[in-house]
Amino acid sequence: MNLGLLTQLTQAFGPSGYEDKVRALIQEHVAPWADELRTDPLGNLIAYHRGNGKGQKIVLAAHMDEIGVMVSHVDKEGYLRFTRIGGVYPLHCIGSRVRFADGTHGVIYLEHREDTSPSPKLTQLYIDVGATNKDDVPVSVGAPAVFVRPLVQQGERLISKALDDRIGCYILIELLQQVQDSPHDLYFLFSTQEEVGLRGARTAAFSINPDMAIAVDVTITGDTPKALPMAVTLGDGPAIKVQDSGMIAHPKVRQLLVDAARKAKVPYQLEVLRGGTTDAAAMQLTRAGIPSGALSIPCRYIHSPSEMVDSEDVANAIKLLAAALA
């Protein structure tokens, strides 16, 4: 595990639509290993590995963007009201810190501290940047911010903000180095705007027009107290997508991944996710249709500032994908 790289990736600022810093970081790490690199009109970064002319054209996608908040109003006293970028839960926000692109930090808190309602509304929350009045606020309406939470490694577990889906970005960066002999034409797609509707992957898939697409993203687990039934456990291996609420994985892609897991002798799980989907769902419906599937990293507390994954699952996902693309 390259903890330094994962730290850089998870801590980079990149809410949906503002992925510049993540892209610059990834670019630096994939440039030595890519045959071509380009940024497209939606800001997707596409790193290309040229095959031997006998393979297939395959997209591997991980999204660069993370959830966040955006300032909608600044009041006279200098408190900020905000809306959410992607699936932010108000409950997770209370007491959280956020960071703006310019480095300004803010604390999110709830009006009426005595209010103990279990699910506050976003409109009851505000960001405090420590200002004393409106003129003192260093950021303006429309400014996006991300949650602040460092990466921690504890045994095999990794905890951080934005593991959804910087862990996928990490896997693709490592994978690119390991598939230098792959016969396939591989397009490593670091996509934008997944969290606001799978936007980047859709247009990138259109321009690449591949034979097959595989998303690498996180999925929820069923192994926490009173969790909804879900046969995915942290540490039991990467999860091969069968279906989620946006897509049924193409059986050919699913089988390719299962065969690869066996070949690479890594444990795997099968994933049926009832709520949520990935870039693969958008790529599947591009042009005349693209056989698509996904490899998921089991992750607890998705879309909270403290997402948790297992480093063995990550290592096994890289081995599995390397075997699939060999």
Partner: protein, 353 residues
């Protein structure tokens, strides 16, 4: 602004499109209607070939009503798009059957309602249109599926304000027309496509197909946004007569935002910032993901009482929007392409193969 009186519920935009064709013809190099019914007018630029294209889209359709059933001469109705049921009672309408027939929206009188019913808005199934004709005549003239539009003449208020039934989005169609007029007199390097899109109110349909068809290098959508009114919060609403709003967020390319903002400053046009963290609910959302992706921006005109028959705006905001769009388009250099801060340097990739 009389365009607000023209009839064009989603999916039935042909008659207003024909009116618009006449209005736009003097200012365009070529004009066509595509298979969906979008009106696409092109004004050729002066730059060298291959010339980049900028598309500006304003939706032509309006919300309305549709006949769902005919019972003893009375017409049962359902909404087309987000029609506000609360304000329909007692309105005059036009039923677009075999001919246009005036009618009104009725419901049962208050005397016969229970106390509880009187407190509630009338559900769709209890609203009907009465055209005054005997049942046999109605059956001859009207069919299930015929559209119905609200009959509401333009009302000029004090202080440069006007009210009408379809300023969403005829206000933007007018702004787009003003931009076309202005650009016909001005030098512009890029080809300018003015597009009056169809079926926005039912899912951005016309924008999706027209953007695919034109495949422009960048696009600006024009729409309306919430004008500040008496009973509002301060968030997400914008004062009338303080200029258009410029969208900020993932739906909008940051460079286009910067250029448009700079243009507004240069023209001394006031504007608001409209933070939009996800779906903008406008044509911009459909256009941005056409084909390989199209850098897109959004200008919105503040309108009060949206989706009600008395949508109210400040005339000057419409003029400002047209002028801002025209100057932005005229300022696009031949070689300009929207890019990203850290655009990949092609030499960054290894070059050993």
């Amino acid at each position: 602004m009389q365009l607000s009186e023209a009839v064009g519920p989603s999916g039935q935009e042909e008659s207003i499109r024909l009116q618009l064709e006449d209005l736009w013809r003097p200012f365009t190099t070529t004009m066509r209607a595509d298979a969906m019914g979008n009106l696409i007018a092109m004004q050729q630029g002066s730059g060298p070939e291959p010339r980049p294209a900028v598309m500006a889209a304003a939706h032509l359709d309006e919300i309305g009503l549709i006949v769902t059933q005919i019972e003893e001469g009375f017409l049962h109705i359902a909404p087309i798009g987000g029609t506000d049921r609360r304000v329909l009672l007692g309105l005059e309408v036009l039923v677009h059957g075999r001919e246009d027939i005036p009618g009104l929206i009725g419901t049962r009188p208050p005397h016969v309602l229970s106390a509880e019913e009187r407190q509630k808005t009338v559900p769709w199934e209890k609203l009907f249109v009465d055209v005054g004709l005997p049942a046999e005549k109605v059956n001859q003239l009207v069919h299930v599926g015929d559209p119905i539009s609200i009959r509401q003449p333009l009302l000029t208020l004090e202080n440069g304000r006007v009210a009408g039934k379809a300023f969403d989005n005829r206000a933007s169609v007018v702004a787009l027309t003003l931009a076309l007029e202005e650009l016909a007199q001005r030098e512009h390097a890029w080809d300018f496509y003015a597009v009056a899109t169809v079926q926005e109110e039912v899912g951005l349909k016309g924008a999706i197909t027209s953007a695919y068809g034109i495949n422009p290098q960048l696009a600006v959508a024009l729409d309306v946004t919430f004008g500040k009114q008496e009973d509002d919060s301060k968030i997400g609403v914008f004062e009338l007569d303080k200029g258009p709003t410029i969208g900020l967020g993932p739906n909008f390319h940051p460079q286009l935002f910067q250029r448009i903002e700079a243009t507004a400053k240069e023209l001394e046009i006031p504007y608001h910032l409209d933070p939009t963290p996800g779906a903008s609910g406008t044509d911009a959302w459909g256009i941005q993901v056409a084909r390989e992706g199209i850098p897109t921006s959004l200008l919105s005109i503040p309108v009060r009482y949206m989706h009600q028959p008395v949508e109210t705006l400040a005339r000057r905001d419409v003029e400002r929007t047209g002028r801002l769009l025209a100057t932005f388009v005229a300022g696009l250099e031949s070689s300009y392409r929207p890019g990203w801060e850290d655009e990949v340097d092609e030499t960054a990739a290894r070059s050993d193969q």
